[in-house]
Symmetry: C2
Subunit: 270 residues, 2 copies
């Protein structure tokens, strides 16, 4: 048993899709979420910048006494997980490994699609992880740099013509490759799952990286006897931009009203 | 005569459209450009964050001995110019005043359109400046939050279906208001001028805020006897993200190959 909180972070609000799953499967855990809303997006930036920001995000979260950290950001997981793991003496869970496992399991025809930010796709991290599990799996990958701005601007509702056009443009080559499973390699993308699913068709399994990562973290902590025991855990939210709009936007990602406290952090100081 | 350089900054690369004009009309000036590419975009962030970033941008530029600063960013000009001017003892030129003057001159029917980032439109700064000049001018404004991500992702070339669809969506109410002039209230937008002009029609004057601001700064410095006298000035570039992609992207904004030095700045330290 370990009563300490789990830290969760993302470049912005996308990681809330992982937090949602953590709260569902581990309702007894205390959770501390940091969204770097003042510097979002990460996925269009260079690797060095992503690593610098990720180190600050972890340093801030570690100002609390945590038992583990979930990197609920595809871009950071794909570009900085090795460094963060080497530099910290607590378990750090990224989204890449769990998503690769889920994709290999789901792709019965040996063909997997992968979408993510420019920085995630450029890293080759998902492909490496999939090849480690099954080198016969063929991966068709595509960077989708407009998906995060669309989602962060609330553009994900069914019937949004811009979303439909962008989905078609990005995913046409992935669909043409006749993949069986598609890794949504960014925690923002589950909000576009309806549009993506409608384009790809019902035969393609969509892998929600935030959700599979949450499941993987929960299983590992459980096996190590590190889960908390209490009636219901709390959740505290921290962001680096204004807290004003956070509750409204976050409720969309979480699928429920945010009633917990939201505070602003000067993340540059960490 | 004043041989010191002029500092120019923007949230990212958009301000290069102003720099281009400064180099054209003031070829003898030394120019120092800072693009906060590690934290771009500003226009979706809160006012407090924008102000904090703008103060750091100015503090970095003032590590050089400058004669003036051009705020080549619509979002900072609309949200933080008063503070920056009050806190600094050198001339600071924003884009709002010059753009408002140009719009009032160009709008022979008394109807002006205004587009900008969410933070610029929310500020009401352009409307206030236009009302000061001519309270009878009617302004139809619209936030265009997807324009900056589109431009920063290189999506501005003629025939881009996503750009055409987004332009139509954002500008339909502005066109319906039968404006005579349209303020492109963000220095990224001149790259979308072809698509915007095609939708609005040939009768609508497009106000390039970066260019009119450059003209205004040049005129003011000239009248004060503060221009430089030399054969040809240099230009130095600084960015807060990787310098690697800068030259390629910047050449698109500048319309010429970047041959000058590009360096990275840790802007959080200022």
């Amino acid at each position: 048993m370990d009563q300490r909180p789990i830290g969760v972070f993302d470049s912005g609000l996308g990681g809330l899709t992982a937090l949602r799953e953590l709260r569902r499967i581990l309702p007894r855990e205390d959770l501390i979420y940091f969204g770097d809303t003042g510097r979002v997006p990460y996925g269009t930036k260079g690797r060095e910048t992503i690593l610098r920001y990720a180190r600050q995000d972890v340093a801030f979260l570690r100002s609390f006494d945590l038992k583990a950290i979930v990197v609920a950001c595809g871009t950071v997981s794909a570009n900085a997980l090795a460094e963060l793991t080497a530099e910290n003496d607590l378990p750090i869970f990224g989204v890449v490994e769990a998503a690769a496992q889920a994709a290999v399991r789901a792709a019965s025809n040996g063909r997997v699609g992968l979408i993510g930010t420019s920085a995630s796709i450029r890293s080759g991290a998902y492909e490496r992880e999939i090849a480690k599990l099954d080198s016969a799996v063929a991966v068709t990958s595509r960077a989708c740099p407009l998906f995060v701005p669309l989602v962060e601007n609330g553009r994900f509702r069914p019937g949004d013509k811009v979303v439909e056009l962008v989905v078609e443009e990005y995913l046409a080559p992935v669909k043409a490759a006749e993949v069986d499973a598609l890794v949504l390699g960014c925690t923002h993308y589950p909000l576009l799952a309806d549009a993506i699913g409608a384009f790809m068709g019902p035969g393609v399994a969509l892998i929600d990286t935030g959700a599979v990562c949450a499941g993987h973290a929960a299983q590992t902590l459980g096996e190590s006897g590190l889960l908390a025991e209490r009636d219901r855990g709390f959740c505290r939210y921290f962001v680096s931009d204004s807290t004003q709009d956070f509750a409204r936007l976050a409720s969309v990602f979480l699928g429920e009203t945010v009633r917990d406290s939201v505070e602003r952090v000067e993340i540059e100081k960490y």
